[in-house]
Symmetry: C2
Subunit: 229 residues, 2 copies
DNA sequence: CGCGAGCTTGACGTTGTTCAACTAGAGTGG
DNA sequence: CCACTCTAGTTGAACAACGTCAAGCTCGCG
């Protein structure tokens, strides 16, 4: 991690919700003590169990949000690309993070002092409502994940993950942002079975995969596998 | 479901957060259009997929919050006893419920018009903050659940559920509020295995169980099973 | 060149689900 | 009051689904 601080909020091209709120509140940005930080691939942005001290906003790059389970066995809940609140889900209870976030690409984040933000939304609920909305959305995602992980077989789960990635990149052709092992962690599958399933789907002509380059050839069928799985 | 409406907020013995907020806002309770409703055992209080129209508050009884999965295969996330927000997790995104809630005992709930509540917290964030706090707590619970369901074996999971119930009732001796099947749904285990595990734990002297009456005899060991599972 | 990380495949064993059959008790209608 | 039925609980056995272990492969990098 490297604090960059080369962009003042006023010149930042991401006019985030918080920025808007500060503007309309007439407060000074100084009090926000915004920190811009740069994270390299594989660097941890926030760690499960750590004290929540800042609101973190993803400005550039891609990151994975995951729960650290038993003996290094993680579950990736979803990926994030800008704009996205990183600290969101642990925001309100705000003692400790209940999950970790790690950059899977070079990423930039913006950190705002939590106390400042709290003071801010005490007088301007716009921010709070927006945070809440994003919050609610995440929860809906997680609910779906729980069902998927517990009631679908691994074939259905990997299909769902591939569809998720396709949606994430808005294209049926994308480059896998994660290793096979991590793709497994997105679906709670062992690395070996992940590989097996990928080759299986490839041989069946449902996907095309070469190293990290994935093309979904039969989205309809893949969706059916995900549903029936 | 039966609308009772026999208690006005002012005489209700549960001075809920919303009540407090209305008081301090100087608004009239009439606008809240509060409805008190009575639910019998097994009646559904809110249904996954339904439109969210009211904030629902559990005033009396016990209910289970669960996700309806594939072909009648549910997962119970947690139980609720008063005071508890029922509509909480779907509150802010507030299009549709992402889960269902069913009474497992005779229950009373209080329903507040959603638009009223929204207007209320636009001018008084106290409510909003309280809702958020409760919200955050639920999320922490769910995170733990995800790990438990996906990384522990069934023995560890049932141990965790029993410990959860023991905590829920604040006693190592309690009467199971749910059937074996539902206890399974709390741990994502089939009914058959749930039974098997219970008898196993009983034979090992770790718990005592007779019909629905459970006594945890060796909490330390049970906790160890839950952790190592 | 050698080393390590990521990837791949096969064999094997464990775990947990499902099916099927049976019991006990609670409720119902004749 | 008895037979009937329905639900909840229980147990055994067969089977399928996955994870784990082990081995080998490739590619990029020091």
């Amino acid at each position: 991690m490297k604090v960059t601080r080369n962009v003042a909020c006023s010149t930042c091209r991401h006019k985030c919700d918080i920025f808007q709120a500060v503007l309309s509140s007439g407060r000074s940005f100084d009090a926000a003590k915004t920190i811009q930080a740069h994270f390299r691939k594989h660097e941890k942005i926030c760690k499960q169990g750590d004290h929540v001290s800042h609101a973190i906003y993803l400005v550039e790059g891609t990151a994975k949000l995951y729960i650290e389970g038993i003996n290094g066995h993680n579950i990736i809940l979803y990926l994030m690309k800008p704009p996205a609140y990183i600290g969101l889900l642990s925001f309100f209870e705000s003692i400790q993070y209940t999950y970790s976030v790690t950059a899977i690409e070079e990423s930039k984040v913006c950190m705002v002092d939590l106390d400042f933000l709290k003071a801010l939304y005490l007088e301007n609920h716009e921010v709070l409502l927006k945070l809440n909305k994003a919050f609610g959305k995440s929860v809906a995602l997680i609910m779906n994940k729980i069902i998927c992980l517990n009631q679908k077989n691994i074939r259905g789960r990997i299909a769902e993950s591939l569809l998720y990635l396709s949606g994430f990149y808005g294209s049926s052709r994308f480059s896998l942002p994660v290793t096979r092992k991590e793709l497994g962690e997105m679906s709670a599958i062992s690395e070996e079975n992940t590989v097996r399933l990928l080759t299986e789907l490839r041989k069946e002509g449902i996907i095309k995969i070469e190293n990290r380059d994935v093309t979904i050839r039969d989205k309809v069928l893949l969706r059916k596998i995900s549903e029936l799985g």
